[in-house]
């Protein structure tokens, strides 16, 4: 008689449940988005119009600005977070005395777990005025001919504020991954590099090159967190249907749009569906980024073995 593996019976449903849940969520997002596609086709993603009306025939929703804002602020966040996380990892592992090292690690891990609204309020009261005064104003007054700095920083609520705040929020996540990977590189590779007569900087660069997969994972995690972050961003981005490359311009993100509009969306015929379409866009962007990362990691693992 074949023996029944009780472990399998216990764990299989949990695994199946996760997959079913994923498929079901995807299904719901597609199903709920269908009405808006029937109503306006790809206009929902390609135009920047937000026209809510109690007369359904006049409704029109285009969330291009929010998609742009989500991607743009997340890129700013990652561009800020990666170098910070890498320097942090090198500092913690190579330079910090043990007590400082522990304090820094604990602080960083606590920061990763803080409720995001805490960042949001701090961002709105401290970060936004600070950036406006010390970064945006000087750059605008001297370099406004560059498109990136061309928007007058009237309120300070902007892509830049959101991106910087997100960068601060996601750095602890990227840091944790990169820090562990950096610490796990066997000492013998450092010895090898030093014995070739290389400087400390050159050795560090070689070792950092060995943790590229961790940097990619850290980047993915950071981007995923950043693009999904809602509350903190909606407090500092200005919530305006604006679509601009200028860092100082206010904008919108998909998550903050959904958070702001979902409560009263049921009043309108098409708005709920439009917001679901926004969620679907987030779903697709998130999945695509992760797939790209996984493909990269797979290729790396084929070639590089410690």
């Amino acid at each position: 008689m074949k023996k029944v593996d009780s472990f399998k019976i216990l764990t299989a449903p949990a695994v199946i449940f996760v997959f079913v849940l994923f498929a079901y969520m995807l299904f719901v997002y597609i199903y709920m988005s269908i009405p808006i596609f029937q109503w306006e086709g790809c206009g929902i993603y390609l135009t920047n119009i937000w026209h809510a009306s109690e007369i359904p025939a006049e409704e029109y929703y285009g969330i291009a600005a929010a998609i742009w804002g989500s991607v743009y602020t997340s890129i700013i966040a990652v561009v800020i977070a990666l170098p910070l996380a890498l320097s942090y990892s090198i500092f913690v592992n190579d330079f910090a005395p043990p007590r400082i090292k522990n304090a820094v690690i604990v602080t960083s891990d606590v920061m990763a777990g803080l409720p995001t609204i805490i960042y949001g309020i701090w961002g709105a009261y401290v970060l936004v005025p600070f950036l406006r005064q010390w970064v945006m104003m000087p750059l605008y007054s001297t370099l406004s001919f560059i498109p990136l700095f061309s928007y007058p920083p009237v309120s300070g609520y902007s892509y830049l504020s959101a991106g910087v705040l997100l960068g601060i929020m996601v750095t602890p996540f990227a840091s944790a991954i990169i820090r562990e990977a950096y610490a796990s590189i066997p000492h013998t590779y450092r010895e090898a590099a030093y014995s070739l007569g290389l400087s400390r900087y050159e050795v560090t660069r070689i070792v950092a090159g060995m943790i590229r997969p961790a940097m990619v994972s850290g980047l993915l995690l950071a981007f995923g967190r950043a693009i999904g972050e809602t509350v903190a961003v909606s407090l500092v981005i200005g919530n305006t249907f604006n679509m601009s490359i200028s860092l100082f311009s206010p904008g919108y993100t998909i998550s903050s749009l959904i958070a702001n509009q979902f409560g009263n969306a049921f009043i309108y015929e098409h708005m709920t569906s439009a917001l679901f379409a926004g969620g679907l866009a987030l779903f697709v962007i998130g999945t695509a980024i992760n797939m790209a990362g996984l493909l990269y990691l797979r290729r790396w693992k084929q070639n590089v073995k410690f």
């Binding site: 590779y189 010895e191 090898a192 030093y194 014995s195 007569g197 290389l198 050159e202 090159g209």
Partner: protein, 254 residues
């Protein structure tokens, strides 16, 4: 000018308060294989790492006495540690080619960063030369852009030797280079060392007396941080003066 490649004078090494090398004196002539043998934990790896100042990486390690490289004390004042390391190549117990660099890049990186060669052509020819010297060229010539993961343990170790030889060092330090290599790979590496000693001074750390007797010309026996005996290999193995050495080479020293 001394005609010894390496000479130590009352060299002592301590980790914190624990002295692991207790004042050793020996002279290693040029272009020979000098084997440093002894049981695990006797301080051989530590001693070896003091010859290229790799010990500096360990913040607790303290060195006193002198270690002369071709007559010059590498622990003297105004010594450029990085240039000392460039003159002395080191091969490790665990074959450690950089896993994220191709075979070609593994050898190129030391040359590039130290600005030893100029231009692509010179780099190419130096890399081919080093691989040839390390008896690896035939095996990897058509796959220089592969990663080291495609190589066997013995081949990886010879890649490390090529990486070191490319720098044209004067002395090679090897820390149990065959400990993680299979018997065939071990034989290849031992043959290679016999070949290389014509041009380089080789200091080999081993915990196998048999390996020391196979390939070394001179041997030093290190026990609990002290150099018990050193001299020509044949003499040490056939006619040891010290009882500890006798027991060690006969394999009955616990």
């Amino acid at each position: 000018m001394s005609n010894y490649a390496i000479e130590t004078r009352n060299l002592k090494i301590a980790y914190g308060k624990k002295e692991v090398i207790k004042g050793v004196n020996f002279k290693i002539p040029e272009k020979i294989v000098f084997a440093l043998m002894g049981p695990s934990g006797c301080g051989k790896s530590t001693l070896l790492r003091s010859f290229n100042r790799l010990l500096d990486l360990n913040k607790d390690a303290r060195v006193s006495g002198e270690a002369l490289l071709f007559g010059q004390n590498i622990y003297g004042e105004n010594v450029d540690v990085m240039s000392v390391r460039r003159e002395i190549g080191m091969v490790f117990q665990y074959p450690n080619p950089f896993p994220h660099l191709t075979i070609y890049e593994n050898i190129a990186i030391g040359l590039r960063l130290n600005k030893i060669v100029q231009g692509r052509e010179e780099l190419d020819s130096r890399i081919k030369w080093a691989l040839e010297k390390a008896s690896l060229l035939d095996e990897v010539e058509d796959r220089l852009d592969d990663y080291p993961s495609a190589l066997s343990g013995g081949q990886k170790q010879r890649l490390v030797i090529a990486r070191v030889l490319a720098m044209k060092p004067k002395v090679l330090l090897l820390d149990e280079p065959t400990a993680n290599v299979d018997p065939v790979g071990t034989k290849n590496i031992e043959n290679l060392l016999m070949e290389l000693k014509k041009e380089y001074t080789i200091v080999l750390v081993t915990h196998e007396p048999a390996q020391a007797s196979r390939i070394s010309d001179y041997v030093g026996f290190l026990y609990l941080g002290e150099l018990v005996e050193s001299g020509p290999t044949a003499r040490i193995f056939e006619n040891p003066k010290h009882e500890l050495t006798d027991r060690y080479v006969r394999g009955i020293l616990a």
